[in-house]
Symmetry: C2
Subunit: 198 residues, 2 copies
DNA sequence: AATGCATGCAAGCGCATACTTGCTTGCATT
DNA sequence: AATGCAAGCAAGTATGCGCTTGCATGCATT
């Protein structure tokens, strides 16, 4: 991976998130990279190769971060752990939401995009649900479906990143919203030792 | 709205959801509608006008349905009410998810799409949070933030519709997933009269 | 029977796209 | 000093796009 190739990939990502999938032309990538258009084709043969490389690198770096993110300190308060996890995840997500949004939409019609996105999504859910499963085994959470809990957590954080612009003025900033969510989420999943309620 | 115009709008929607925003060309719309391409321009002047009309009609019909959807029977079990509401909403959502997915992604860069989508999103959240607010006043829910609860509910249902393909094999069908979600969701929001727990 | 209007058809315009070709330039290794 | 290789430059290909123009056709109202 020489310097020129790196410049091209960086430029391709920045054009992709600012102009969208179909708005990402080889002319724009070349201009943003400060190289001649023909250099793109000498290095990567086709535009498709460039975009695939950009997508795979970005998703892999995200997955690497996620692997170390979903761990709940066993001694700490669950709400605090969840809030910390949520903050980290929201940060990771909001830094990539433009790309992810493009991938989800393009993946609906392009199998080659789907093939990259599908395993990433599944690993994400799997990691978090394993984390929840451990909490259940340790008696820290009641016997809910850990996968559904994981999807609940991910879907909320994903949604507030995706809809950020529309949510301004409705709910507060991401931190406030996350706090409210964790409140709702925990009071359901924390094992209630006193069973005599209701 | 004559018959030809209706045929064109129907065709435009079907091309839009199957080919995506940039894949929706006037040639394809004309072919799908069974009319000559030039007829599109005689009726609507521009491709943009056609797409705007398609989008506005579809979102308005969805909003009309939503207005009557978010009502919880006061005497029934909350979990049952929420599940019924969820089923209705998932149905409405999954019938339109291809279009909605396109609008969200295109809206990130096209202000004219954003202007249509933004109020629709806000009305959706407002309606559901009003519904929850009523439950809180009636003492059926504890004092959570109704807007955050609404976003929690909407984000989960939205996510399982959007990610349907990736979730197959991870969590069960939508009904099962919804049941698991409502379990987690309710146990947090139902007012616990016995305050002595934990 | 005459008129008008909706639509079809064929052709084309200007523009942008991904990608190619042939040639030049300049730096780095030998 | 000679060689090779990476990159620039200019031009061009074929394709598809939104949209326009001019003319033909056929149905419905008068």
């Amino acid at each position: 991976m020489d310097e020129t190739e790196q410049k091209i990939l960086d430029a391709a990502l920045s054009v992709l998130v600012s102009k969208g999938y179909e708005g990402t032309t080889t002319r724009r990538i070349a201009e943003a990279a400060g190289v001649n258009e023909v250099t793109l084709f000498r290095k990567f043969q086709s535009k498709e190769n460039i975009l695939r490389e950009v997508i795979i690198r970005n998703l892999n770096s995200a997955l690497a971060l996620i692997d170390s993110m979903f761990q709940m300190e066993t001694e700490a308060d669950q709400a605090v752990s969840l809030r910390n996890m949520g903050l980290d995840f929201i940060k990771l997500m909001s830094e990539r939401i433009d790309l992810i949004s493009i991938l989800i939409e393009e993946g609906r019609r392009k199998p080659e995009v789907q093939e990259i996105l599908s395993p990433a999504t599944q690993i994400l859910i799997k990691r978090l649900s394993e984390c929840f499963e451990l909490q259940i085994k340790n008696g820290k959470m009641r016997n809910i479906d850990p996968k559904v809990a994981a999807v609940t957590f991910i879907s909320f954080t994903f949604y507030i990143c995706l809809m950020k612009k529309f949510l301004e003025g409705i709910i507060g900033d991401k931190e406030e919203a996350l706090e409210g969510f964790v409140d709702i989420f925990t009071k359901g999943i924390i094992k209630v030792n006193d069973k005599n309620l209701r």
